[in-house]
Symmetry: C2
């Protein structure tokens, strides 16, 4: 009987995170990840370049959603309105179904400084991409740089809150609050 | 004749940065760094744990200056005023004399992703320390987290501007402008 293997990438990704969380990132081998879901190393490497890539795959698509959010803002949008549009667009990634996965991923990252560093570099790369998108949208470079960094910071703060146990609001609602609170902070 | 070796740490640090910039971080050995200023590897390791430490030493002292800035803010300071006090206090590090060193250091970091990642982790650690200092100062945790991240972002943006060629203003002046521009951005 030939077994059909649907969603191999997703299953490998979830299995990897569970093993990284329970045994540690370094101690887990690709063979163990693949074995744990009845797949082969060969299949793993068809979906991921290496062990770290499991955690950081999808960066381009993720970044593109933010960039599209800026492109969709009205032509006369303020820099702030444009970055709010970007973060709001990114909310689509953070559905309730994704919460368990994201929490597990965060646990693994928090426990491994080299993964935390990589995650931070991903955010810096996102800032650079948003700056370019804002400039493309007609915003002067200096204001674009500030707005992009501000937007990424608001995103990170929203993401941290969304991961907290006990907060059951949607990502979009949390982001709205974070922007409001940051606005109040800077107006004081 | 016994040669006196003043400022060994500073000379080793400058020599290391020059070599990292010209030959690359990986290709430079500790022996070469020490040789280039007539010192020994043994002396190098008396001052630095490893090659990377040359670039990131002094984090505790650096962080403490920010924390002291918050402690020195008035008891009824807003979270924003407290983080402005922190960044202003940190200006002491960024004297005109330090500019050449800081630019060289930035060139090295920008050319090496693993060093850039480490620098970003340093900033994340600073955010955590500032959050704790703000809570200590009587600010609720949620507001403290936002304010600390906002302050570190403003610091990073100010630091980048300070490193730019052609901008001859002091770090404190630049930081004041960045806070003003961010305030205008978020008020829009």
């Amino acid at each position: 009987m030939v077994r059909w293997q649907p969603n191999a990438q997703e299953r490998l990704g979830e299995a990897a995170l569970r093993l990284y969380a329970s045994r540690g990132f370094e101690a887990t081998t690709v063979a163990e990840i693949a074995d744990s879901v009845g797949l082969t190393e060969r299949t793993f490497f068809r979906h991921f370049a290496d062990k770290r890539e499991v955690i950081f795959s999808g960066q381009e698509r993720f970044q593109q959603v933010f960039v599209n959010g800026i492109a969709s803002a009205s032509a006369d949008a303020t820099p702030l309105a444009a970055v709010i549009a970007a973060v709001t667009a990114a909310s689509e990634f953070f559905s309730d179904e994704r919460l368990t996965h994201s929490r597990l991923r965060q646990t693994v990252i928090a426990a491994h400084p080299e993964l935390h560093e990589r995650e931070l570099l991903k955010m810096a790369t996102l800032s650079t991409a948003l700056t370019a998108a804002l400039v493309e949208h007609g915003i002067p470079e200096s204001a674009a740089t500030l707005a992009a960094n501000y937007g990424v910071m608001a995103f990170q703060l929203s993401f941290e809150r969304w991961l907290l146990a006990g907060d059951t609001r949607s990502f979009a609602d949390i982001a709205r609050d974070v922007f409001a609170e940051l606005g109040a902070l800077t107006a004081s």
